[in-house]
Subunit: 176 residues, 2 copies
């Protein structure tokens, strides 16, 4: 049911989405969806909660964190197209509730990463690192970039670690 | 009318979008929209054409291109929220026509940038550079990241030029 809800909210605005359509896609009755989630709004909140995905995305020691994040992102892309963070891109067409989705993202993803990072300017560097990952996810899942999608995950990691790891370790330039 | 169409296709799936709603948002009659664009599909194609935006985004000499791209992206974000490239993120909820939008993006944005870049692996580096910009656009317009959005555009450029310019000049690592 949650997978069907993710698909629905990725493809249709909140106002255009119905419990009936989600239930139909999941192969269950609307009554069952309501029994588990209670309302469309609560189902939306479940879809735009990032805690579990962030825990998996950041589950590595600091010196291997950039590589882990890239490989984890690609593994989820190539698997069930369940990118851990990219669905925030769809919050823009949920006018009514997008603000809550974005607040969850800032707290559960960006602040959680910033808390892991040493050095000055950790919150800003966490934002930039997550931005690089969002861009990589967009190249894969959305743009379907010709060259990048043909590389092995390890090759993509080799390309992205030099961009990401300095942001994580505090070697990148900080704002004036 | 085109601005209204951009808003509509950013918020609703192609199948959920109507000429009547776009005309209403633009303050014109549906007949006028049809007179200018002929069909919903042709209007969609206009929204997901990137030629003019790419020309403006890449309109700088190579040694200042990274800074120009960042400043241009931020200027359009802060202005009329008309990011030159981020609307590709919404192609995912236009199942029927998203493929055409993505093909336009790869040709008109990525290939156009690659043609400007010296050194080996230019197409791959162009993809990565556009990915970094998509991530920056997402941090601004979608996530609304707390720290980055408070900086002056020049400060954001100072942070992103070290990530972007090596990709443009061919100094970044290339795939094995």
């Amino acid at each position: 049911m949650l997978a069907a809800a993710r698909r629905a909210f990725a493809r249709h605005a909140y106002a255009d989405t119905t419990i009936a359509a989600i239930a139909d896609d999941a192969g269950v009755s609307p009554a069952l969806v309501m029994k588990y989630y209670g309302s469309k709004e609560r189902l939306f909140t479940q879809v735009f909660t990032f805690d579990a995905d962030a825990t998996a995305l950041f589950d590595a020691p600091l010196d291997g964190l950039a590589r882990h994040m890239v490989l984890h992102l690609l593994a989820t892309q190539r698997g069930q197209t369940r990118d851990p963070i990219l669905r925030i891109a769809f919050s823009r067409h949920h006018l009514e509730l997008g603000g809550q989705a974005r607040a969850n993202f800032r707290t559960q993803v960006i602040d959680a990463l910033a808390a892991r990072l040493p050095g000055p300017g950790a919150p800003l560097r966490a934002e930039m690192a997550i931005g690089v990952l969002l861009g990589l996810g967009a190249l894969y899942a959305t743009v379907q970039a010709d060259r990048l999608t043909q590389l092995d995950p390890d090759e993509v990691a080799d390309l992205y670690v030099p961009l990401l790891q300095p942001l994580l370790c505090g070697e990148a330039p900080t704002a004036r």
